[in-house]
């Protein structure tokens, strides 16, 4: 068989046996060109070590299951080519900012809690028409960038803020909020945006752009943070001069 031998160095840990502590396991495996990190992980689990734990599903960078830290950077295992690294050792670790359940699987509860907090759904007050609510092509396009988010949490893992402040909403939740704030059909009140108008929300962002680098879908969550900040400042200005809508 052609291909080159790679060493996969994988962080192992089981929250149910914390005494064993985290440690690295090493797997040597022959890799032909075009194989992804996920394909290799599946081979390790199927053929070498059935106890290895990692999430995976669509294997096409769509479902967001297989986010992990690959050679130091958060990414999806399914879209990372093994051959894209110079080094023949690939180091795999779980995403930071969340507790490890086992090996490469983290507890995403904090991530989903933040998601739920921003009211991540369309809010309407007017009655719906019989058919579709009209939306222009341009208005539809405005959301595109944020609609693309697959909630994989690469950004949340890359963000420096949650480590210092676990109450921080994080990039994905804010991107989701901006997706609705930009939706011409959404009728949430200005007050509902106030919820992120503090340093647990948009003002907590350090604008280091780590989320932009980590995002596999070009969502650019920092753009959402900047967008929301502008809206909040504008709303405040409107309130000050007394033309603000209802709170």
């Amino acid at each position: 068989m052609s291909g080159e031998i790679y060493t996969f160095k994988i962080l192992r840990y089981d929250a149910q046996s914390p005494d064993k502590g985290p440690y690295f396991d090493y797997y040597k495996i022959r890799v032909i060109t075009g194989l992804t990190v996920l394909t290799v992980l599946l081979r390790i689990r199927d053929e070498l070590d059935g106890t290895l734990a990692f999430r995976s599903s669509c294997r096409s960078a769509t479902c967001g299951s297989c986010a992990m830290v690959i050679n130091g950077l958060p990414n999806l295992a399914c879209r990372t080519q093994v051959g894209s690294f110079q080094d023949k050792t690939i180091i795999l670790e779980p995403l930071p900012n969340m507790e490890v359940i086992k090996d490469l699987v983290v507890d995403m509860t904090p991530f989903w809690n933040m998601y739920e907090k921003v009211e991540p759904y369309l809010i309407r007050k007017s009655p719906n028409p019989e058919k579709e609510i009209f939306q222009s092509e341009q208005d539809r396009k405005k959301m595109d960038q944020f609609v693309n988010c697959i909630l994989c949490a690469c950004c949340y893992g890359a963000c420096p803020v949650p480590a210092r402040d676990p109450g921080y909403a994080g990039p994905a939740a804010l991107a989701k909020l901006e997706r609705f704030a930009l939706d011409s059909r959404d009728e949430r009140s200005a007050a509902s945006l106030e919820r992120v108008n503090d340093d647990k929300g948009v003002w907590g962002c350090d604008t280091l752009f780590r989320c932009i680098d980590a995002c596999p879908k070009e969502v650019r969550p920092t753009d959402a943070v900047v967008g929301l900040r502008k809206t909040l400042v504008k709303n405040k200005f409107k309130r000050t001069i007394g033309i603000g809508g209802k709170e």
């Binding site: 059935g50 734990a53 096409s60």
Partner: protein, 567 residues
Amino acid sequence: MLEYDVVIVGGGLTGLRAAVGLSEKYSVALVSKVHPIRSHSIAAQGGINASLANNPDSKDDNPEKHTFDTVKGSDYLADQDAAELMCKEAPNVVFEMEHWGCPFSRFSDGTIAQRPFGGAGYPRTCYSADLTGHVLLNTLYERAVALGVRVFYEYVVLALAVDEGVCHGVIVLDQVSGKLIPIRAKTTLFATGGYGRVYFHSTNALINTGSGIGIAYAAGIAMKDMEFVQFHPTSLLGTNILITEGARGEGGYLFNNKGERFMERYAPKAMELAPRDITARSIKTEMEEGRGFEHEFGTYIQLDLRHLGEQKIAERLPGIRRFCIDFVNVDPVYEPIPIMPCQHYSMGGIDVNMRCESAVKGFYAAGECSSVSVHGANRLGGNSLLETIVFGKLASRSIPEYLEAHDVRPDEKALLRTQAQVEQKIRRLTSGGNEKPFPVLDTLRKAMDDDVGIFRTRAELERALAKVIEVKERYRHVRVSSSALHMNYELIAAMELEQMIDVGHAITLGALLREESRGSHFRRDFKERNDDAWLKHTLATKGPDTEPVISYKDVTITRYQPMARTY
């Protein structure tokens, strides 16, 4: 023991739509082996059919025409009353999804955009670029969050408790804690998706094992029309990631190694937009007759989008472009895409009627795991997303009718008995035995690929059946590496393997017995459709010696008498 009015298994479009319809009035648990957002529905690309008549070319489209296309596409095996119901509901559910925030692509007049899809008389496929499943699933999950639906994610259902024709609930494994938990429920709805991974080459997610279908079968509920397996014409060479039919809907061409648009020979009118069964067979024929391209990953055909231009590709098919660049290093703006047909969709499934009811009281199924049947022998592109939402919604109407009409008291004892069986199975898989689960699965899925594929013959099907039986025997010796119950993916794979073997068995046996060609089921030794003998549904029920017992059931025909199917 947990207790609910309704337990819904599956967090894809079907399960979420049902949960959204039920959770305001009933106590509902939605159980899914992955977070709902990771369900396979997320990967759907091309769109969802509804005769909205928004496209300037579809002004006289209507639900009746949609029904006819669906029935003809099914090669007349669909139940026509069910197909009619689905197509009539289609505009309602699409508008409802839009009102809930689904970001559909738009026409310049602000209405929902619609594109042409295979086998359809009009452009009626509503879409959001090539991310339609992504936007639909996000919208329904958002709705579920707004309503506070109780979701148990990373809980795997391992068995269904059925006793004397009544369903009492499910046994689930909490993957994180490793606890086995019985859920006592007055009604149970399976929305567990397709079985693509029973095949070696599939467009489906790795989690699509079809375990729900196998679990229901083990509990005595029949599988219907399993021999009808959809092979999609265009999956990416190597990974088999789907390249949506929308790529042809937007005007893509198929070319063989002679540079011919070979669909001319097979479907001169519809060309690249012939239904999937016909297009997949045409591609396979080109390959078999030496007109494909050779590559170390296999033989392929070219899907050419270059004439669409960069702007159209970037606007309508951005995801496809990304897949091609990321996974085969081809930019479709400049080069044709190497594609091959492979397993894609399960027309068959749990036998239910158009109210999503099974033969077992209190047990329902909907979506891809079920067979109503609205797709018959071949599903049209864009009709599956439609089925998930329509029947998820309809289940959320028929379940309350049952709950209101009966004093339902699910039995704890039946659940505890089922739990004991599950525990015994786990003990067996974690002790003794000398086979790892994976090589057994590998034998099964290769046999299905090789011998139960696009073209079938008696000899090949008999060989596959022998393999399935061999695999069943090997399964008795399977053992997993660790006896831990928490985060043990190998154990879950081993549990699901049993169900995958049953699914493979029913597909193969159904295909061997059906001596005709209809829709996706093509027998080289019986090339014609035979309505006199075979215009009927196949049912596979678990027999006493674990072999499936096959029987047949009439197709409901209302308005459309079977005709020759040309495109």
